[in-house]
Amino acid sequence: MNAIHDREKVAAPTSLYTNRVKVYTKDVYGPVRSAKSAIMVFCLVVYYTLPWLRWDRGPGVPNQALLLDLWHERFYLFGSVLWPQDIYLLTGLLILGAISLFLVTSLFGRLWCGYACPQTVWTDLFMTVERWIEGDRNSRMRRDAGLWTRDKLWRKLAKHWLWFWIAFWTGGAWIMYFVNAPVVVVEFWTLRAVPDVYFFTFLFATTTYLLAGWAREQVCTYMCPWPRFQAAMFDEQSIIVTYQGWRGEPRGHDKQNNIETFGDCVDCNACVHVCPTGIDIRNGVQLECINCGLCIDACNHVMEKMDRAPWLITWDTLARQEARAVGRQEKLHLVRPRSIIYFAAFLLCGTLVLVGLLTRATTNLSVIHDRAPLFVRLKDGGIRNAYTVKIANKTQNGATYVMSVSGLAAQRLSLPEQNPAFGDSVHLAIAPGSVGDFRLILQGRPGDLPDGRETVAFTLLNETTHQILHYRALFFAPAAAKE
């Protein structure tokens, strides 16, 4: 008989669905709580103020330091401007973010979940507001269980009113990452903004209100995929929030504070009461544990009061705890194949993104041959080919380019839409940060071409910077008769 599955314990059939057990978190203070609060404030300040940071990019370009301008297909990231064709760099940044998450998780468990994830940060903020208005755990539980009094009514109303405004500003700030912040704020309140702005503000306000105010730990447990697969990132050598069972058990206490009968755990449930996901850390590693360590602060206070050694709940690895239980000491193994591989992947990806960003071409040239006609014969027997020239000037300076060609006898160029006259080269002016699109005619006397085509080389010279770009294209002519 399998010890885990005890067939004798047969329960009566119950519902397929369960009620949520509401989590009433108790306030706690201590170093972990201070660190968590500091990170929360830092993240919130960055989130709400970053769109207001300015960055001078010259006239005609938004001066917002971080702006994802989807309408005009430009991402402004401080000193660089990303075009749609640079989107792979953004993909690289996202991959880099994922790998650093893997690396940190393999070393220190779910630090992201406990401290920096927006769900955690805003839930913490909403809980702080709740605690401020409705009091701590006990008074909230008492009031919720009690009748609807005037006191209960105004506190609930005040709480939701404040939550609403926080959620609104959160949704509003989100929009500012996509449209110029000072402009959209004015447009928003004068009702001149486009409907998308109102829609997304409303959408993100609603999700903030629901997820941080109501859903809370349900998001982590049921909606977020990360807790489901983070188990693949950490192992018995990762430092995670751990209850030292070998020290604490058997839990309990008596009036004499007798250490001989019981372990260090006095079974006061302080760790459970402060937990934002409402779990008992003493049950070991759990899917729901976001590794925030508030239980550590709570337990340390109790240990201090009971005159016992602190850190009954601490950060440690599973392997070290297992060794401790049988009285051995074991070293930390932070440097191990897993973390080395994650770190190597981090370095590789980081280098690729950096190199990509630094060596990004600031001018792109393409010369596309017309599909029809492939060539045109001229009065004097010469041949004319037409091309579409596209020049992307990604710099913040307007530029004039000189385009010339080599590889064709008696070659002449013209821009029929600008000036039908033919010359040795053509001049193309492109405004800063834009794409120039020109029809180019190339004519010459190619002579006998066995395949009916030959390669010509276009050269594009930036008159100001003297940067030169090359492009090889085909020139078509009637195929010479085969001998």
Binding site: H5, A11, A372, V376, L378, K379, G381, P416
Partner: protein, 289 residues
Amino acid sequence: MSSKIEKDAISSTETTGHEWDGLRELDTPLPKWWLYVLYATMVWAAVMCLLYPSVPGIRGYWHGLLGYSTRVEAMRDWHDMQGRHAEAMAQIAATPIDKVITDPKLMETALQSGRITFANNCQPCHGQSGTGRLGYPVLGDDVWLWGGKLTDIETTITHGVRSPDTQARQSVMPSFGADNILKPAEIQAVADYVGVWWGVTPAGTDVSAGARIFADNCAACHGDKGQGVRDFGAPPLNAHVHLYGDTRNDVVAQVTHPRMGVMPNWNARLDTGTIRSVAIYVHSLGGGE
């Protein structure tokens, strides 16, 4: 396989009761709000079905309480677009053609409109982007029967060539063979003579007879050196581009019994602004003068 409900000893969660090689699956209950979200989506679907066109019937369909229709919306957009197009064309019609090409915004509109109008109306004969074919001139080369300036092209498109329009471009090439003006041998001599200009006559052929016949019969319209005269719509012959073919037989056939193409007068079908746009587009194909 057991169908008894049992509890896992560690997590005290029920199992599904199914067992595979000693492994049992936990039957963790879903949160209730999850179920309510499912119900909410059902209600949402029902409301959407009421508001929007949804249920097909035998002779029609449920139009929805909002009366929304993508077809109506598309037609409204189409009418909007037509209105804006007409406005743009009126503006181009009111602007002299030389001014249109120097105004970047008007020029862009004209090229765009010209390209589309050309594809819809001119492409069947002149080919994509004015590729041309036998009997239908190439529009990107440097040979023009009636002139390659913007105004020339606009006039040709407006009134057509040999069209019913009274101001149409008119020209007639005599049927030198069919009307017995020249004898077949004389026609062949002329063909040999003009063939020298683009190299189809073998070197060393005596063309003096053809030269005389050309001076007497052809030079009046085609020019003494075969350079062509645009006032008569007479094509240049000393060229490598020929509307009806460049072999000796092609020339003989054209002199004996000439083919003369017709181009419609587009003023009967297109408005002034649109014609002006097409003229600008054709001018931009590479042959514009």
